[in-house]
Amino acid sequence: MNKNAERELAQKLVTEIKTMADKAGRKLRFMEVCGTHTVSIFRAGIRQLLPDNVELVSGPGCPVCVTPDDYMDKAIAYAQHPDVIITTFGDMLKVPGTKSSLGEAKTNGADIRIVYSPLDSIPIAKENPDKKVVFLAVGFETTAPTAAATVLAAEQQGVKNLFMLSAQKLVPPVMEALLSDAQVRVDGFILPGHVSVVTGTGIYEPIVAKYHVPGVVTGFEPLQILRALYRLVKQVVNGEAKVENEYEAVVRPEGNPVSQRITDTVYEPVDTGWRGMGVVPRSGLKMREAYKSYDIEAVMPLAVAELPAPKKTACRCGEVLRGIVTPPQCPLFAKACVPTHAIGPCMVSVEGVCAAWYKYGQGRFEYGK
């Protein structure tokens, strides 16, 4: 599609959204729960384009951002062990723990290696048989099968010195936690594209039915997001609540069954802590008993003395992640906390809500909108 045609379509969709939303007779609020959607929405300027009675709010869609300080503290503590090599995706390096970050630990001599794939940890483990190689398994449903497949590959190749420090998180349980939170008001969800590639669309059905809140799976192009918004507004106006798929070219109703099976072989659901949300029931993954020999926390538990005590901060990332406040309402935003000197993880990650506001939104948004 050429640019002009795309603009015309976008404009038409916005008009249709407005006409439909006017029928609701109140302000509607939709949440995206995927960090890549957040970036795309800001990049295309979708928030400014929407009528006054349709509001978008970002949710806990950035894995780095929702990972609590204590996980970073554990990763840093393991990195201090002389016989440990940490392997990680690059975006974890700058994430602050309670006292420091992995990046600082690396500068101070810890062996921390950035990998593109968890599988890259296997050759590192083979080349360093006297070391424990620990992969930082952080992410949502899209990433979990890649970590699980790596464990299975290590088992198959007889690699015994590769371990996971797991903080895998699941999207549907945290959506449910948000819907149960009286402070959070959401009329519908823009459902994640690439998480749904793995899970399929059926996984959202029970929540949508239980809370009578619609959800639309969509892709990352502005037109796809606008079409999803139109479908959400229409469902609300018609009093419907169902899961729709605006990303049918990529997301199948059944998802990727091989990925689901591999994840389920290695992991089982567990209650886990989210930044700003506390412990959410069955919202994380832990390694099954049969794979405990690949779980660094089971094989080499940390001593309490190795971990710092929690500290207080003015960072409001936890509330930003629940859509309760917008980044400009945080006293640190764009002042003490900027991308080059980030205090909270929502500013560190490129998918973070604060980083998106800073990059695309600074000075172009009314306070609180």
Partner: protein, 85 residues
């Protein structure tokens, strides 16, 4: 972090695929997508092919990904585009 990148499958051998991503060839695991064939476009996440996709889905995602990695902005906002007309 969940963003998957479109790639074209050039070769597959022993569940390892050689794919082309934005003109660069690299190896990915086909373990999670055993049904993919040479010539398919697939979404790649963290070194694994995750799903077979249409070729046209590739373009916009690549531009978005580049900007997330710090490249300068490549599109106008929709509002700006409309204003230019």
């Amino acid at each position: 972090m969940c963003l998957a990148v479109p790639a074209k499958v050039l070769e597959i051998e022993n569940a390892i695929g050689k794919v082309e991503i934005s003109g660069v060839s690299r190896e990915v695991s086909m373990m999670l997508l055993p049904e993919a064939k040479v010539g398919d476009f697939v979404l790649v996440h963290a070194g694994f092919a995750m799903q077979i996709v249409d070729e046209k889905d590739a373009e916009e995602t690549n531009a978005l990904l580049a900007e997330m990695k710090g490249a300068p902005r490549t599109v106008d906002t929709i509002e700006e585009s409309v204003a230019h007309e």
